[in-house]
Symmetry: none
Subunit: 212 residues, 4 copies
DNA sequence: TATGAATGAGGCTTCATTCAT
DNA sequence: AATGAATGAAGCCTCATTCAT
């Protein structure tokens, strides 16, 4: 029936608009810094009214969080893929690093936003959802790593030791790449990234660590 | 002469008040997140009027930057000490890590603030001063590391490869320690820190890296 | 279509509100002196919120300037009318004086504001626009006066000599009429204005001036 | 006695300081516009403490007024001199014009200030004093002019007609000379001032005015 | 559903004036 | 008398959110 079709098309368009808003918001945040972006600017970029944004999202913070959740979900897909292809440890670490490093500004934006939202205790439900995805990701990682420990590739410490240290290095690498210092001083960027990658990949290999 | 004494005492008290303001501001920033702290709140915490703050600092951003500069200067002192005692590489890396890890919230606050201030192009003179200190710190580090490369302890890559990777790991470690994930999941924190420390210390040792 | 109508009505109402704001602002400025009028007071007088004012005008200075531009445009219309009716010199001078004298407070307000805004280098674009209108007005005047010089009615000096001296006398007349002295001392105001008008009208007639 | 001497020297120094403050204030007002000059800046320029200013003057407005009164007193001296030397009408008008034109910025500053202070009803006693001097000046002028009317040089209208129209032209001349228009457009400034002067001098001569 | 005008709490900053020393 | 640190009222402006159409 035509009415139903119309309705579903409208629904699709509505969903589509949501996508556009998120995309536009992200671009603006990256370009100008989230503090300088107003809801009005986002609306204008999408070409809709400010009020319409509030039909899709309850608050501006919700926009922040939905973007962050998407990022975390992309990462989930990455791990999914790796787990399914039973990727080895080298590949895992490498992919993880590359994912993080790929779009440093975006990662840092979300990192900043999380600090802000946690401090403000804003939108706790969505924050919870974000953390759940993250926990699930961590679990996946843990499983992969446990397998490698059993194989004797990795040092036999609690798996999250490996997870966390890799996370830390990747996180730091991102921040570094955004720093003025890095962009001014480092000439051989490709060489450095290779160095860092190897460091990250080898980090935690067996025989490198002695328990106190 | 009594007048001179009085005058210098007043000057000392004035300087002291500046200290109090910075301290109070730092505490509030850490506690509530810088965005939720108003100049008025800082004044109230110190027990002075709002206007008085502006006798000491031109803008709120200046308060931010002075705190950041202090942090960087503390780090400069650390390197100074190490360089003078011709500390070996192990000690250097360890101290560096410990310094960063010591007060993660503070470090992250400053990191966030820097992103914000750079984006806003606010107080450029003070930002310049901050970066100068940082550059000087990096130079000190580089010198120490060059010595270790000559001794054959460290992999023979450009010294800033070592500096940067250590910086990244430490930076990431700090962020990790502030994350909800870390605080929820990691049980054996001491053990983990030890693990991370060793990772960091060993990172870049000779024989671990193969140039492509 | 009904929607379009509605939209244009809204637009009209919005424009209307702008008018109200400017009118209210002008009245308050005249009544209390611009320095004692806050944006909040203007809003209150119109019966709207403070923030709404800022939907119409970027800054308080912009309100000042828009009022000033209106005044200048009224004067432009006056000259236009005179030029079109090929008014003689007497009429020109007379109308010019009367226009200035009509609302002395308003003229003086704008004069004061201009000094302030020029000193502060505020809203330069609008100031530029104001000056452009003024220049165009001066040109019109010059053209009229050149015609009178050719006819031999006016002394043959650069036309702007006439323009400027008339401007000066009118400007001074306005200030005078606002002065306490004038309002206390002068009894026969009508008589005086007539005297001044004749002075102004005759000023610059041929045969009155001898070049050094 | 030494004590008395010291005391009187102190008193003299105190008076001297007052002078310096007024001078410094005037310079700053002219240079930067009165709104941008703070009491602190004045104190600094004189090389004394801010509090000291308030030993000399009750409020900032008092400083304004004292400067204005001085100006008016200078004008009183001018008229005194002219009256004593039984100066003719030409000289009177000329001197009056030249006095006004001599330092246009200063005159306009005071004009602006008076508008402000009257609107704010600030320091009414001093304002009264200012107006008293001004009235006395006007009287002197009137006397001179009455004599000229009797001599048949000037049109026989109420003397203040002459006073006021001269005042108005001079006032306007000052404003003109400060205007952007004047400074941009007028090339032959000397010629114009001569023209204006002759206009002013001849203004009100007998035979130029016809009563309605 | 879409709109965008309206809102007003809230932040930063200024500066004349006071007052304890 | 001289000082200058301290004050706090007051002003401008921003922007997330609401709501009537």
């Amino acid at each position: 029936m035509a009415d139903l079709e119309k309705a579903s098309q409208k629904a699709r368009e509505f969903k589509q608009r949501e996508e556009e808003v998120l995309q536009a918001a992200l671009e603006l945040f990256l370009e100008m810094g989230e503090d300088r972006v107003t809801v009005e600017m986002i609306a204008e970029k999408v070409g809709i009214g400010k009020g319409t944004i509030y039909k899709h999202f309850e608050t501006k913070d919700e926009i922040y969080l939905l973007l962050m959740i998407r990022y975390e979900e992309e990462m989930a897909q990455l791990f999914q893929r790796i787990e399914e292809t039973s990727g080895n440890k080298e590949q895992l670490a490498k992919e993880f690093f590359l994912f993080r490093i790929k779009d440093p500004k975006r990662y840092m934006l979300f990192d900043r936003l999380e600090q802000k939202l946690v401090a403000a205790k804003s939108v706790p439900e969505l924050l919870g959802r974000l953390h759940k995805i993250r926990a699930s990701n961590a679990e996946k990682l843990t499983r992969i790593i446990q397998a490698r420990i059993k194989e004797g590739v990795l040092e036999d410490v609690p798996p999250y030791f490996h997870v966390c240290s890799a996370w830390a290095l990747a996180h730091g690498a991102v921040a570094l790449m955004q720093s003025q210092f890095y962009n001014t001083v480092i000439e051989d960027k490709e060489g450095f990234i290779d160095f860092l990658l190897q460091t990250g990949i080898r980090m935690g290999n067996r025989g490198q660590y002695k328990k106190k």
